[in-house]
Structure formats: structure tokens, C-alpha cells
């Protein structure tokens, strides 16, 4: 029964993801075993995600993240970060 509840809860969160959030998993793997240097976001502390995004926004980045972070406001970044924090495996 717990499993059933948990699945429904997670599902509700997925349909309610804040704007932009579901695009991230195109590169940031949800699963631990995917062989990529791009970090997972699921379950990561929101503060870490916010700090990284703010750094991408203002600093020099050799990757696409510098180009992507500039498309999100601080409020949007916080909503995405909070949502990923709540997403478990």
C-alpha cells in the first residue's frame, strides 16, 4: 500500500513540475547508472542547484549551462531546484 501511495505522490509531482524543469532530464540523468559526466539533479539539495545556476548565469562557462541559465529568473531557478530536491530515485 505504501508503494502505491508513493508512486501516486511522485506522479503528481511529475505532472506539476515547474516550467522548464522536465527539460533538464534530457541531459541530467534520473538514473544513477547512466554513464555521463553531467550530474544528477534528483534529490540534490536545492541550495546547491541554485548556487550552480547563479554561477552559470553570471560567470564564464565552457558548457551549454551558461547559455541555458540566462533564460531563467531567480524565482524560476528556485522552483526548479525545490522540485528536483523532492524528486527521489
Amino acid at each position: 500500500m505504501l508503494t502505491s501511495s508513493a508512486v501516486t505522490c511522485m506522479a503528481a509531482g511529475l505532472a506539476d513540475a515547474p516550467p522548464g524543469a522536465t527539460s533538464c532530464s534530457g541531459c541530467h540523468p534520473a538514473k544513477k547508472w547512466v554513464d555521463t559526466q553531467v550530474p544528477r539533479l534528483n534529490g540534490r539539495p536545492a541550495a546547491d542547484i541554485i548556487a550552480a545556476m547563479q554561477a552559470f548565469k553570471t560567470g564564464q562557462s565552457g558548457t551549454v549551462m551558461g547559455l541555458i541559465a540566462k533564460g531563467f529568473s531567480s524565482e524560476e531557478i528556485k522552483a526548479i531546484a525545490d522540485w528536483y530536491t523532492s524528486q527521489k530515485d
Binding site: 500500500m1 505504501l2 502505491s4 501511495s5 508513493a6 508512486v7 501516486t8 505522490c9 511522485m10 506522479a11 503528481a12 509531482g13 511529475l14 505532472a15 506539476d16 513540475a17 515547474p18 516550467p19 522548464g20 522536465t22 527539460s23 533538464c24 532530464s25 534530457g26 541531459c27 541530467h28 540523468p29 534520473a30 538514473k31 547512466v34 554513464d35 555521463t36 559526466q37 553531467v38 565552457g62 558548457t63 551549454v64 547559455l67 541555458i68 541559465a69 540566462k70 533564460g71 531563467f72 524560476e76 523532492s86
Partner: protein, 425 residues
Amino acid sequence: MTHGISRRALLASTAAAGCSAALCVPALGQGAGGRVVVIGGGFAGATCARFLKRMDPRLIVTLVEASPVFVACPLSNSVIAGLRDIAAQQFTLDKLADDGVALTRAPASGINTQTRAVTLTNNSRISYDRLVLAPGIDIRWDALPGYNEAAADRMPHAWKAGEQTLLLRRQLESMEDGGTVVISAPANPFRCPPGPYERASLIAYYLKTKKPKSKLIVLDAKDAFSKQRLFQKAWKELYPGILEWVPLSAGGKVTSVDPAGMTVVTDFATHKASVANVIPPQKAGRIAEAAGIADRTGWCPVDPVTFESKQQPGIHVIGDAAIMGAMPKSAFSANAQAKVCAAAVVRLLAGKKPDQPKLINTCYSLVAPDYGISIAGVYHAADGQLRDVEGAGGISPIDAPSSTRAQDASLANGWFKTITEEVFG
């Protein structure tokens, strides 16, 4: 589990109770359920089917896909250049069935928008409350004189991955050193805007390393293309004397082809090719016409929030077939659109208003095995279409050390593993 309550009813009530508990994200929660049919099992369709089921497990989701094996286009240019095995491009939909998505192998033959039902070639019907079409592209066989389905056996397009990819690879492998390879690139819009130029790069790499007396000519119906400065800088560094790009303004537009004589014709010249890769004009996949969702351009206009067809209510269109404003026809875009579309469909079925979406595209191209370049964009709905978010997006630095290019090449491979795991894994 007894007391006259069915297991199904008990599970449903428990799930609902669980969702009202404090630990849950406040939510959609009580999704209305419903029947959704998705046609097309590529990056767009398979993602959408899977996420619909994850977002609302009570939905009955049917995925209609005739091919038992999906062959991915991203990285297939590496297969053409002999750098990658086609097996690394092949995926099945088996795991979607494990998620509770019903798979149907019979191709769809028609759509009745009045009764909201899809007809399959085996004459069975599937009713839907909402339909998602992700048919990808079809070749416009009437658009380039001389280029028909028979011509593609001599002059492969290789713009749908699979046998065509392998045919082009075999032709390059059997070409003598000193031969001329001709690529014909189409006018916009078409699937994978940087694709012809990544292909040109990797074929040039093959020629440089295996057949250095050979030449590659790219005949283009455009004067500008995606990641152009990055490609051209890399070509100058890596492939001088091997790769020649002829833009529209220099007479690059191909006006006809002759597969028997292996010639590719422009207004200014007739090019004799040892190997000819004709990337022809394209349109939305065939079912789009049957559904009445394609406009005169051959592509499908959609609402930028829900991706619902502007021509047929109740039908959503995602991926390469749709007109998505500033968003390019890429696998990353298709996957991102599919997730937004799934959320919109779940909300609409529950009688709720879909969110204003924000979407990202990221695309890597390989200029050589260890030399990658990238482009990214962020999009939002404005003025009835998807537009670039100002100040965001762009291409990788024009002046960057080889370590940056190597990193992008590595990220390209990582991206492919991540996205295919999410869609098919």
C-alpha cells in the same frame, strides 16, 4: 483485502488517501484518468507515452508503432563514417510495456476526429479522449526532380536512420580513393538543422584518414546554417582541400538529380558523384495528412502551451512534425516537448488549465570524433508561438581550446546515453 472490496478499488482509494497526506507535493493528485493514444514511438512519442503513464497511472495509454526496432538518428553520422556500430542506435519499446503502456504494432491507417477513434490496418479501432501524434518526418518524393524512392537506393538520403544509414556507409567504404562525395542539403525547415554539416564533417574525417585523395562537396539550398561559424572554423582547421561548401548564393541549390548517371545538378553545374547523399525536402509524417493536421507547408501548426493542433481539437502534435516556432527539429526538443505535452494532456483531462511552459533545447555536433560543438536555447510561449527567451541561448565559444571541444564531444555521448535511457531504458 476482503470485505467485498475489489483489489482495484482498494488500491485506488488508498492511493487517493496517500496523496492527500501532508508529505505529498500538492497536486493534480486526483487525475481524471482517460484514454490517450500516442502514434509514433520515436523520441517524442515514446517519451510522451511513458510520461503520461507516470504522471497519471490511471490513464489508459496506447502507443501505436509499427516498427519493432527504433533506430535513433542522433550520432548516426558516426555510423556513416565508420566510427560507430548501428547496434548502438537501436532501441525497443519493451520497457514502456513494463511501465503499463499498451503497445500496438499494427500501423494506424486513419483517424476519425468526430468519433475520436484511431483505425489500424488490421481494422481494429482504438478510442481516445486525447490523441498525440508524433509521426516524425516523411520525405517529399515530389520535391526534387529525379529523386524518388528508387533513386534513394542509389543516392541514399540517410535522413531516417536504419538501412539508409548503412547503405551510405557501404558506398563510402567501397569508393576508390580519389572519388568525389556530394551532399545535397535542403532549404529550411528540415529535421536536425546542423545534421548535414555534422555529416559533412565526419565524412571529411573518414576521407582524410582513409581516402585522402578524395573530395567532398556540399551543395546547399541555403546561405546560412546552424552553428555555421563553428563548423566553418573547424573545417578550415581540420579539412582544408577536402571539404568544399557551396552556398545558395554561389549556385549551391540542387535542382535535379540523375541516379543512373550519378549526377547532381544545380543551375550552374553538373556534379558527377562517386557517392551522392541527397538530403531532400521533408514534411510531417504521413499520418499528419490523414488526420488533417498539416497545413500547406506540410508541417503541423500547434498551440505553444499544449501543442494541441490548431486545425484539429483533441489532437496534439509533438516532435519533428510540428511547427514549434523558434524550437528546432531535434531529438532533445522532441523529448522536452513530449514531457510538456504529457503534463498538459493530464491537466486537460482533469479539467485543469495547463501551465505556461518553458522548454530547453541542447544539441551537440561532432566535427571529428574528439571535437564537439554545441548550441542551446530556452523557449517560452509568446504571441501564439514558441519564442527564444531573450538573453539566453547561443553556440559554444568560437575561440576555445581543444579541451573544450573534447569535452563537448564527450558530453555529446553522455547526452545520448541519458536521453535514450529516459525514453527507452
